[in-house]
Each structure stands twice: as structure tokens, then as C-alpha cells.
């Protein structure tokens, strides 16, 4: 419990820092930390495959991509201007309201842990993925393909004759 608590706390802290850092690169770095802590929490839940996927994909690929873009679009004035939007006040209220709602739901009814069933194992995941959920799986592949193409097309430089 204690280690879990620590990990969760770390995750929350780094998330907080992500959104409050001035330098966006710092935000990215803190995001990576958050992602990693999430991965560890997955480990505690015996979802090893997912923890790995999280680290490889999220923290590895996606964050790298973000860092690349950050570096491509770096500007000095970013550091000079005000950090927060004009609508911050309202946003805080709304996010707070959301948190309250979620908290309320959370503490009202706690879901039980069904110990009489077996814990889902990796093999279960693989099996489910390729039998019951094969259709979404394939769709996801197509989606990836589409995203790939879209990315290339959108980010392409305009050709000058």
C-alpha cells in the first residue's frame, strides 16, 4: 500500500507540474514522469503488458514526437508572455466542479474486488484481443494507417514549382 501511495502521489504531483510549468519542455518532461508513474501503477494491478505498452508507446513514441515538435516550434517569446489564458478563473471553477463530482461518485460507492474470479492474465488479453475484439483491432490498424497518411499529408511542406 505504501509504495502504491507513493507512486500515485508522484503521478499526481508530476501531473500538476506538467500543467503549471512555464517552459513547455519542462511540461513535457514532467508528463513523461507522470506516464511512467502510471505505468508502474499498472504493474501493481498486474497488467504487465499494458505497463509495457504504456512505457514503449506513450512515454517512448508519443512523448518523443511531442518533444520533436516542441523543439521545432521553439520561440523565445513563449517564455516572456503570460502563461495562463484569460478564461483561467472559469476553467478552474469548472475543473473543480468536475473533481467534486468525480470525488462524490468515488466516495459514495466503492466497487468491490471480485476475488472469486481469476485475475486477467496476458494470455487472456491476447486471446480476447484476437477473438472477441478482433474487429476493433483491425479497425484500429486502419485508423493507424489513416493517421499515418494524414500526418504525412498535413505536415508536408508546400511544394514550390
Amino acid at each position: 500500500m505504501i509504495p502504491l501511495l507513493f507512486i500515485v502521489g508522484l503521478g499526481i504531483l508530476s501531473a500538476l507540474l506538467t500543467i503549471t510549468q512555464r517552459n513547455p519542455i519542462h511540461s513535457a518532461l514532467f508528463l513523461i514522469l507522470t506516464l511512467l508513474s502510471v505505468a508502474v501503477s499498472f504493474l501493481f494491478l498486474r497488467a504487465e503488458f499494458l505497463a509495457m505498452v504504456q512505457v514503449i508507446l506513450y512515454a517512448g513514441a508519443i512523448m518523443v514526437l511531442i518533444l520533436f515538435v516542441l523543439l521545432l516550434t521553439a520561440r523565445d517569446e513563449v517564455l516572456r508572455r503570460s502563461l495562463f489564458h484569460r478564461q483561467t478563473f472559469v476553467a478552474v471553477l469548472i475543473a473543480g466542479a468536475l473533481a467534486v463530482e468525480l470525488g462524490y461518485l468515488l466516495f459514495r460507492e466503492v466497487p468491490p474486488i471480485l476475488t472469486d474470479h481469476s485475475l486477467p492474465h496476458l494470455t487472456d488479453v491476447a486471446q480476447a484481443l484476437f477473438t472477441e475484439y478482433v474487429f476493433p483491432f483491425e479497425l484500429a490498424s486502419i485508423l493507424l494507417l489513416a493517421a499515418l497518411m494524414a500526418t504525412v499529408v498535413i505536415a508536408k511542406k508546400e511544394e514550390t514549382p
Binding site: 478564461q87 472559469v90 476553467a91 469548472i94 466542479a97 463530482e101 462524490y104 461518485l105
Partner: protein
């Protein structure tokens, strides 16, 4: 043999009806030969009438034929039926006989006229209606004939309708007649009300009995008598409805002879005779008839003395003679009245046809002041007219003497000395004006233009035949029918139809004195005429100048027409103007008012429409503009604003879900 013909006697009116139909619709095909249709028609009717007469001569009882049911409604029945009795037989002979002669005469007279066929068609039609009138066995059918002859009179007076004076005269005749007819209709209605039917047999029996049983209710019967007499006043041209007859001279002269001398105008006389039981029960009505007759006789006679138009003299003479007839009826001498009707048909018909002959010969000159000395050139016409004149003047043994004398005698004998006096004066005037006419037309130096003199010729045989026939009848007819006075063949014949309380007719010295008196009256008249127009021809002009007021009064017919025009006609004109104005303003008012109302309403609607519709449209537009102006500010272009809004909404919904809907 003739007895067996009785069942078909109802054909008598149908021959001329057929003739009228044929000539009316197909006349344009035969044109100049139209008389070949018309004459046989009348001839047949005449022959059949002779047969009827012969039958009734042997046995005086009446014969009735019902043809068919005309009106059959709840409790009220009128049939088309004919009554053949001695009274109707007399009229039959007069109508068809004189009618036949006039038809023959018309061949010559109307020879060159363009409307030859139309003329004969109308003439036949007239005969038809007159026969219906005479033969009818009930008042309603008689009224049919009554109206029909009025129609034919209109058609024939206005025969030359292109001439305004002719068409005006026709209208006048019809309208004045109508006034009388209004009374007649009311009389018939009262009869229906009182008795429930119009059949002679029933009515003439019921009404007198009614008066006998209920003397207090004699007023209604008298009223009926008066109303019927009103019709007679119009049809037979008595005061005050005589004014159409002189104007009716616009028609062709044969028409004047037939309709306005011999037949139509006598319809009133016939009607009163037919209704004599009714009149005997209404002594007040009879008195009125007598007074009216006598007054008219004198009145018209005075006017006749100074007229210059040959036909006008004869017209007023007719009015006067009709007055004599009514006088007879009024004093109760019904047979005498009928007798005078018959003789009058002879000599007045003759005089008119003779006048026609004169006019025809003198290139249509009707003014006697322009005639004269025609005796030598028109011997037949002169001779026959002379006979007619003697007859009308009442010179024995000519026809008029017997009938006129009888009337005068009866008047005096029945105790009306005043009326006798008036009638005697009228008789003197009669002789005067007729000899005046004869002298002015036939004697002395001719005043015609040399051109006209050149054309002077005696009339063709078709015309002279009629003249001669009538002259013969005027000569011997009176004597044959009416001698001895009040006891002659005619009286016996007619008494079958006219039941009178039998009084002994003694031929006394009193009667002889009266006869002498009548002759004296005729002689006086003749002498005065002889004096004025033969011996001292300058006298008339001098007298006229000296007593010019009187002369003017007479010459202008007492200005009766003018009086009527200023009073009755003026009233009727203003009434019609009033109705026209009413009509126009009311109708136009309504129509225009409706129009204006519609315009106003639509104006309101337009206004409202504009305001409301436009208001709505504009309002909508303005609202849209305003709203869109406000709402566009939401599109900030900033994505985060959108996210904020969305998130806010989602949070709100979730909140609702979570907190409110457990």
C-alpha cells in the same frame, strides 16, 4: 238539315282564327292573294251564323255547347263553352255579315298597301275574338274576347305604325280601354266572390235572387253592375273614356267601319244586354247608364257639328249613337238598344265605308273643307252615303228612324222626360252634322286641287258592292225588322233571350205624335244644315266669328284631351318619374354603397395587412439581426473557449445526473 249542323256550330270562331294564323305566319308567301285565305274564313263563319240564325228562328230556345274545361281549381270551374241564343245569334250575324262586307271592301281599299297580308290577318283575328266575346257562355271567356278585340283594335289602329300619330293613337286606345277593363275585372272578381262561378246561367239567376232575398245587400250587386259598366264605358267610348275613338281614325277606314262603328264598340251594349237580369236588380246602375248615355249623345253630337275631318265627324257621331244605345239600356229598353245597334251597324258602317271611298278617290284628302262637288264624279258613293245619312238622321222609312224613335219613345214612356229632351236635342244635332257632311263633301264647287280632281274616280266593285249592300239594308232593314214599332220581327226574336215583364204594346196616338216629333227633329236638323251649307254658305264663318268662344270650345273638343293630359297623365308621369328616381337612387345607392363598402373594407384590410404583415416581416428580420448580432460573439475563433464551454456543459449534465437523478 241545319239542325244537324248545330253540333259543329262551335267552329264559327275557328275559321277566322285559322285565317289569321295562316295569313299571319305565311302571309308573306301569298302577299297579294292574302284575301283568298281571309275572305273564305269569314264567309264560312257567316254562312254558319246564318244556319244558327235559321235554327233559332224556328225554335227560339237556346243551345249551349261546352268545348272543354279551361280552369279547374278547387271549387272554381270555368269552361270554354258557347251559348247560341237569339241575342248571340243577332250579334253573330252583325259581326260576320258586316265583317264579310268590310273584308270584301278591303280588297279594293288596301290594294296597294305593303302590309296586305298582315292587315287581313289582323282583321281575321279581330273577327275571331269578337265571336268569342259574343258566343261565350261565361264572363271570363267573354273577357278573353273583350281583351282580344282590344288587342286587335290596337294592332289595326296602329297599322301604319311608322306614323307617330297612328302609333300614339293605338296606345291611347289600348290604355284608355284598360282603365275600363280594370273595372270590368273587378266586377268579374266580385262575381266570383259572390257566386263562385262566372257562368251566365248561374250568375244571372243567382244575383237577382240574392237581391230579392237580401234587399240590404243590394249594394254589392249594384257595385258589380257599376264595375262591369265601367268596362263598357271604356270599350264603347262613353264619357269619360271616349277620347280614344276619335284618335282611332288613324287606322284604315275599313277598320273604322268594322271595329269602331259596327262591332267592337258595341261590345259594351251587348254585355249589358246579356247581363240585363243583373242590371234590372240594380236600378241605380241603370240610372247611371241612362244619364251617361244621354249626356254622351249630346256632348259628342255638339263636337261633331264643327269638325272638319270627315272621319272625325263620323267618329263623334258613333260616340253619340252609342250614347243613344246606352240611354235605351238605362231606361230598360234593352231590345230597343239592340235594335239601334243593328241599324247603326248598317248605316254607320255604310257611312264609314263611303267616307273611305271618298278619301280613296280624292287622293287621301280627309279635310272636308278641301272637298266638295264630288256628287257627279262619285255617283255610287254619293247615293249610298245619302241613304246612310237619311238613315242616321232618322228619316222614315229608313232604318235609323225606327230604332231611334223607339228609343225616344221608351225613354219618355218609362218616365224620363229630361233625358228625352237631351236625346231629342242630340237627334237634331245628328241630322245637322250628317247633312253638313254630305253638303260639304258632295255639293257645291269642288275645293280639291286640279291634280286631285284629275284622279277622281268611282271606287272599284269590291268597294261599291259593300256600299250597295249596306245601303240596301239601311233602306229596308229598319222597316223589316222593326215594324210595327216594338212589335216587329226583331222584337219577337230577341224577346226569347231578353225576358222582360211583358207590357202590352199598344200603338196609340201618343206614339204617332212622337214619331211625328222624331221626323220633325230630323227635318230641323236637315234644314239647319241646308241653310248653313247650301243657301247661305257664308253663315258658318260669320257665326263662328261672332260666337267664337263657343266655336273654339266645340272645335277643340272642349279641350278634354288637354285636361286629361294635365291631370291624369301628369299624375301618372310624375308617379313614374318618382318610381324611376326611387329605383335609381335605391338601386344605385345599394350598389354603389356596396361598392364603397367593399373599397373601404379592403382599404382597412390593406392598412392592417401592411402594418401587420410588414410589421411581422420587418420585426422578424430585426429580431434575427439582433439575435445574430448577439450570438455571433460566441464565435471567438479560440478553440479553448469552445472546449471550456463544452466541458462546462458536460460537467453540468453530469452534475444533474449525479446529484439530481439518483
Amino acid at each position: 238539315m241545319v239542325d244537324s249542323l248545330l253540333p259543329v256550330m262551335w267552329l264559327i270562331p275557328l275559321f277566322p282564327a285559322l285565317g289569321a294564323f295562316l295569313n299571319g305566319f305565311f302571309g308573306h308567301l301569298i302577299r297579294k292573294k292574302a284575301h283568298w285565305v281571309a275572305i273564305p274564313a269569314v264567309l264560312l263563319s257567316f254562312l254558319f251564323s246564318l244556319a244558327v240564325f235559321a235554327t233559332l228562328l224556328k225554335a227560339h230556345h237556346p243551345h249551349q255547347v261546352t268545348l272543354y274545361r279551361w280552369i279547374a281549381s278547387d271549387g272554381f270551374l270555368v269552361s270554354v263553352g258557347f251559348l247560341f241564343d237569339t241575342l248571340s245569334a243577332t250579334m253573330l250575324l252583325v259581326v260576320t255579315g258586316v265583317g264579310l262586307l268590310v273584308h270584301i271592301y278591303s280588297i279594293g281599299y288596301m290594294h296597294e298597301d305593303a302590309g296586305y297580308a298582315r292587315y287581313f290577318s289582323y282583321l281575321n283575328l279581330f273577327i275571331f275574338f269578337m265571336l268569342m266575346l259574343v258566343l261565350a257562355d261565361n264572363y271570363l271567356l267573354m273577357f278573353l274576347g273583350w281583351e282580344g278585340v282590344g288587342l286587335c283594335s290596337y294592332l289595326l289602329i296602329g297599322f301604319w305604325f311608322h306614323k307617330k300619330s297612328a302609333s300614339d293613337a293605338a296606345k291611347k286606345a289600348f290604355i284608355v280601354n284598360r282603365i275600363g277593363d280594370a273595372g270590368f275585372i273587378l266586377g268579374i272578381l266580385l262575381i266570383i266572390f259572390m257566386v263562385g262561378t262566372t257562368s251566365y246561367a248561374v250568375v244571372l239567376d243567382a244575383l237577382p235572387h240574392h237581391v230579392q232575398r237580401h234587399p240590404m245587400e243590394s249594394g254589392i250587386v249594384t257595385a258589380i253592375a257599376f264595375l262591369l259598366f265601367m268596362g263598357a264605358v271604356g270599350k264603347s267610348a262613353q264619357i269619360p273614356l271616349y277620347v280614344w275613338l276619335p284618335d282611332a281614325m288613324e287606322g284604315p277606314t275599313p277598320v273604322s267601319a268594322l271595329i269602331h262603328a259596327a262591332t267592337m264598340v258595341t261590345a259594351g251594349i251587348y254585355m249589358v244586354c246579356r247581363s240585363h237580369p243583373l242590371y234590372l236588380s240594380a236600378p241605380l246602375a241603370m240610372q247611371t247608364i241612362a244619364v251617361t248615355g244621354a249626356a254622351t249623345a249630346l256632348f259628342a253630337g255638339t263636337i261633331a257639328t264643327v269638325q272638319n275631318d270627315i272621319k272625325k265627324v263620323l267618329a263623334y257621331s258613333t260616340v253619340s249613337q252609342l250614347g243613344f244605345m246606352f240611354l235605351a239600356l238605362g231606361v230598360g229598353a234593352f231590345v230597343a238598344g239592340m235594335f239601334h245597334l243593328v241599324t247603326h251597324a248598317f248605316f254607320k258602317g255604310l257611312l264609314f265605308l263611303g267616307a273611305g271611298s271618298v278619301i280613296h278617290a280624292s287622293s287621301n284628302e280627309q279635310d272636308m273643307q278641301k272637298l266638295g262637288g264630288l256628287r257627279k264624279k262619285l255617283p255610287v258613293t254619293f247615293a249610298t252615303m245619302l241613304l246612310g245619312g237619311l238613315a242616321i238622321a232618322g228619316v222614315p222609312p229608313f232604318a235609323g228612324f225606327w230604332s231611334k224613335d223607339e228609343i225616344l219613345t221608351q225613354t219618355l214612356q218609362k218616365g224620363h222626360p229630361f233625358l228625352f229632351g237631351i236625346a231629342s236635342l242630340a237627334a237634331v244635332l245628328t241630322a245637322f252634322y250628317i247633312f253638313r257632311l254630305l253638303y260639304l263633301t258632295f255639293f257645291g264647287e269642288t275645293r280639291l286641287s286640279t291634280e286631285a280632281v284629275h284622279h277622281l274616280h268611282e271606287s272599284p266593285p269590291t268597294m261599291t258592292f259593300a256600299l250597295l249592300t249596306l245601303a240596301f239594308l239601311s233602306l229596308v232593314g229598319g222597316f223589316l225588322l222593326g215594324f210595327p214599332p216594338e212589335n216587329g220581327a226583331f222584337h219577337h226574336f230577341l224577346s226569347a233571350s231578353i225576358q222582360m215583364p211583358h207590357t202590352e204594346h199598344h200603338f196609340t196616338s201618343f206614339n204617332l205624335m212622337l214619331m211625328a216629333g222624331s221626323v220633325a227633329m230630323a227635318g230641323t236638323g236637315w234644314f239647319l244644315a241646308h241653310l248653313f251649307y247650301r243657301l247661305r254658305p257664308e253663315l258658318p264663318a260669320r257665326l263662328a266669328k261672332k260666337r267664337y268662344v263657343l266655336y273654339w270650345l266645340l272645335f277643340n273638343k272642349y279641350w278634354v284631351d288637354e285636361l286629361y293630359d294635365k291631370t291624369v297623365l301628369a299624375l301618372s308621369r310624375s308617379l313614374s318619374k318618382l318610381s324611376f328616381a326611387c329605383d335609381r337612387y335605391l338601386i344605385d345607392g345599394v350598389v354603389n354603397g356596396a361598392g364603397r363598402l367593399a373599397v373601404t373594407l379592403s382599404g382597412i384590410k390593406l392598412f392592417f395587412d401592411q402594418r401587420v404583415i410588414d410589421g411581422t416581416a420587418n420585426g422578424l428580420a430585426a429580431a434575427t439581426q439582433f439575435l445574430s448580432g448577439s450570438f455571433r460573439k460566441i464565435q471567438t475563433g479560440g478553440v479553448q473557449n469552445y472546449i471550456l464551454t463544452m466541458t462546462g456543459g458536460a460537467v453540468f449534465l453530469v452534475g444533474v445526473l449525479v446529484f439530481l437523478l439518483k
